[in-house]
Symmetry: D2
Amino acid sequence: MTIRVGVIGAGIMGADHVRNLAGAVSGASVSLVADLDADRAAAAAGPAGARSTTDPRALITDDEVDAVVIASHDSTHAELLTACLDARKPVLCEKPLAPTVEEGRTVVEAEEAVAAELGRSLVSLGFMRRFDPAHTELRRRLAAGELGEVLVAHCVSRNVRSAPDATNISAITNSAIHELDSMPWLLRTSVSEVAWVSGRKASSLAPAGLQDPALMLLRMEDGTLVTLELFLNAEYGYSTRLEVVGERGTASFTESPLLEYNLDRRRATEYPADWRPRFADAYRIELQAWIDSLRTGAPSPLATARDGLRASEIGAALVASIDAGGAFVKVVHA
Amino acid sequence: MTIRVGVIGAGIMGADHVRNLAGAVSGASVSLVADLDADRAAAAAGPAGARSTTDPRALITDDEVDAVVIASHDSTHAELLTACLDARKPVLCEKPLAPTVEEGRTVVEAEEAVAAELGRSLVSLGFMRRFDPAHTELRRRLAAGELGEVLVAHCVSRNVRSAPDATNISAITNSAIHELDSMPWLLRTSVSEVAWVSGRKASSLAPAGLQDPALMLLRMEDGTLVTLELFLNAEYGYSTRLEVVGERGTASFTESPLLEYNLDRRRATEYPADWRPRFADAYRIELQAWIDSLRTGAPSPLATARDGLRASEIGAALVASIDAGGAFVKVVHA
Amino acid sequence: MTIRVGVIGAGIMGADHVRNLAGAVSGASVSLVADLDADRAAAAAGPAGARSTTDPRALITDDEVDAVVIASHDSTHAELLTACLDARKPVLCEKPLAPTVEEGRTVVEAEEAVAAELGRSLVSLGFMRRFDPAHTELRRRLAAGELGEVLVAHCVSRNVRSAPDATNISAITNSAIHELDSMPWLLRTSVSEVAWVSGRKASSLAPAGLQDPALMLLRMEDGTLVTLELFLNAEYGYSTRLEVVGERGTASFTESPLLEYNLDRRRATEYPADWRPRFADAYRIELQAWIDSLRTGAPSPLATARDGLRASEIGAALVASIDAGGAFVKVVHA
Amino acid sequence: MTIRVGVIGAGIMGADHVRNLAGAVSGASVSLVADLDADRAAAAAGPAGARSTTDPRALITDDEVDAVVIASHDSTHAELLTACLDARKPVLCEKPLAPTVEEGRTVVEAEEAVAAELGRSLVSLGFMRRFDPAHTELRRRLAAGELGEVLVAHCVSRNVRSAPDATNISAITNSAIHELDSMPWLLRTSVSEVAWVSGRKASSLAPAGLQDPALMLLRMEDGTLVTLELFLNAEYGYSTRLEVVGERGTASFTESPLLEYNLDRRRATEYPADWRPRFADAYRIELQAWIDSLRTGAPSPLATARDGLRASEIGAALVASIDAGGAFVKVVHA
């Protein structure tokens, strides 16, 4: 059985999903691609042997679409998810669930009502780090207790250049949101309070509304302290780091480059310019896991809508900390 | 269109191919699995939704088999390849093409006769390193001239433990054969002469008939010297290293572990116990490339039967060097 | 001219200084060693060809002592420094200047009065990181602007095991004091405010009075944010890390081990059990620089008493932050 | 007691020795510096508070010279060593002992005759790697059996640019000579035979008479095989590598840089342009060990004249292998 997928959004992320589903995932095909830009939709659809449209709602209800991927702008997520629920079709929505906690709650309520009716959940959320081999291996090793109790974790998330309209809020809801989901998942605990500490602003590079870099602190329910340096205009390269510090020792991600060069008085490995090479495997594995669950009828192993809401709720507390001058703010989970 | 693959051999390698073709490659399914051990065949076939048999020749001619993978013992390769050619079915045969140059030549002649008749080649050879991301990236960078002219290359190939019946000859035809194919491919030149230099034998570990480690030297047509330390009982871990030295600098493989640990006074990364984690991506990408070529009718991008013969011919020269006390021996390509 | 040094304190640190001054520093000899434990004093003095005493004040006024090193308990520093000033003898005192800001201020006032009288300063403070090759190279590179403006810095300071009577306060005044001196020195700016954030306590290892690990935040005058994870019971090894993050890139310390091992499925380098291997060069170079200044009459390039006071003042603000529940506290420099 | 040293040769190496002896070694001073270039002699002598001369023989017999360092051209070593022996003065001569085996034998005979007469040896040879912390640590660990029996070792020695008049012979007697001494010393065995294998020549960079890079093979008495890639025009940086492969695992030198940089899409450490930063500690420690032996009357722990002769004898066998087209040639130790 082949799952015929309709993909909404043919930007960088959506086009990657089309390529993976059509050419690197077992048991899937792409039947339809939707994008407001008809040319972009057609360009992504062509090599995959799919049709294209500019109407995402038509895609959702199309007879040849068994399941939907939403990779359009964040602001469209809630509405399109609701349409998928109405059509009773399984959907994988790119993170975030929604830009605001309010919208997210509405989606979760609708989703859980449909799940109760059907006996299975229709919504999966694309927090792909949950399928990144480094993340899954680390989670497994932590659970095995190899480091003893976890005490502290340090995250560093650096991009080459932010979007020109990035703000402190979008930096949280669009970028830091990854750690807001992955850290509770990795450490198997919840976040109880958070703080947002400003530092010195990268004067020439960052947009006016963006304090960049920023330091965020998460205190987990069990007391574990997580630091996150988010630096969207780090210029030198894309890098996602994590070190988990336990009673007996630490574990950290390597950068895992393929090649090392000796050139020009330097021994060097290279950084990618954006996130795609770093997480290419994660996206492919995530899509395969989603398709497998649809083929077998097993529950989706991806993040749920509620997971997405929880990440947004932590983000909301960070935004509140900005307003509170960097003080710790309690996280409220609905 | 889905390519229905029959897999001959359900050992470690064959079972991995079944899993990949059934669950991680786009456009393929496994229809039949053959193994002399009926239980092993059934165990591999079951999760893939395939039938099983103990008769490889019946598999080759089965109507539901569009293409064949041969992953049975090296000694069966030539005969099974000939049967695939007779059946005019495309086949991916694990390396080596055959244990001896003579058998290899027979296969190549048959293969090229059929290819002339059909206008396309049916045989692909499983030198998976040609699809390993580190190898392909290095080959691309070398071609781009980033290191200047290549002058020397150093290969190290270490396994934890050899087969108990390993010999100097099997070490060449079964293990070193990878470098005998990959180095000419990487450097885009041929091997003109080779030498096999014995060192000190690992007394307690290696089988009686195996000088382990051994040092092999390849001199390429353009003068480039390649060294290969092959150590099959290296005990500490599985490791494939390569450093290419050019006029301006060098490039080398990293070990690319996912995690680094600080524990017990050590900062450490881990080695796998065998080759599978190191080359898991290479096998999957190779299979996808093979399936893609079958679906589109494009020529297979995998190694050819003639490539396999050339590697065997280099191996034969290394065996001759053992007999000649380690002197350089010219390579004869038919 | 050979500078005859008297060393007060023959513990680990004092004995190391005796060995260096007697056997690895040009232009110095050790004439006298003082320790309350007469045997320990004699044991350190013997191989250096020095006399020993249990009376530090007699040492200071001894005719064969041209200059004094103080490596006795922190609580004795202020009093012994005052005695050296009274004797008008140059002195190198191990950090900290004194356990409290009040004592430190008294010493600085006395020291500056004598300096005004003599036209040169007598007191040098043993913040050896200022002579560590990694620190000095980094400081030089930062000043050259290679990273652009500095925005954030991350310090990690981990020991294997704390003193059994360690407290949150001693962790600051005795351990974190290194970063409290080195970070303003490296970044060539002052600390304006600090915060001390507790995390989850390493339950089984740390003394009752010690929150371990702890996270400290320093905000510099120019806005640069410095994070310091201090973990005195990190068990796995001794490690001092620093990454400075600038607009264009980052620079960080390597661990600089000599050898790398492949053993037991691991590729590993080793950590020392304490600080001495990591800073052996720094201590030797610092002593040589001090002796050179005494021989040539040039001003001492070591940290000054006032530098020591400034570090203590930052430490006092951190202690105040503990009492304030982790809020930022302004640093007051006299 | 201060040892007053006379230094012959005020080139790069000699000037470094003067600086170390005058400013970084305990118990030594420099009393006299000799160089054929009077200005160069004076420039080196000045900051050390030493006199200068153009006459090395006058230096050797000078009353204020207790011991001599020879750092002049290789061709002068034998003659100057003989003069030191005649004057019965201890001498540290830079490697090599002499450019030819014949000259070396003459010196060793004279040296051993004087040693028999005095009951102590006067000549030490400057194979500084014996004092490099990475080398001494590795030698200690090998002796402790941590890797099991040693089976193979791989050396790589790369320089940025060779001398313009470098030849295959000078590459052996002046550069490879380091490994010809250090490998038997590290592995505590002798070299039984050697081979010199040419590769592809770096066309544009190396002098006409120099095959660069070259691969040398040393077979030790116990069968251990040592490979040495010597590449004098490697351009990218100065690098000395060694990996020793044992039955249980391997140990290798790290490059031990102080800092790591993230800049321009690269994570990089830097290579020095020549050997001095890499071996600065080794030279200082070697000089201190030599001075200590002179002060205490203990035997010098440095390499002996006979060690130097043995290295030259191995070099002679390598030269013979060049003439024999790369075949293995037995080493003859007198």
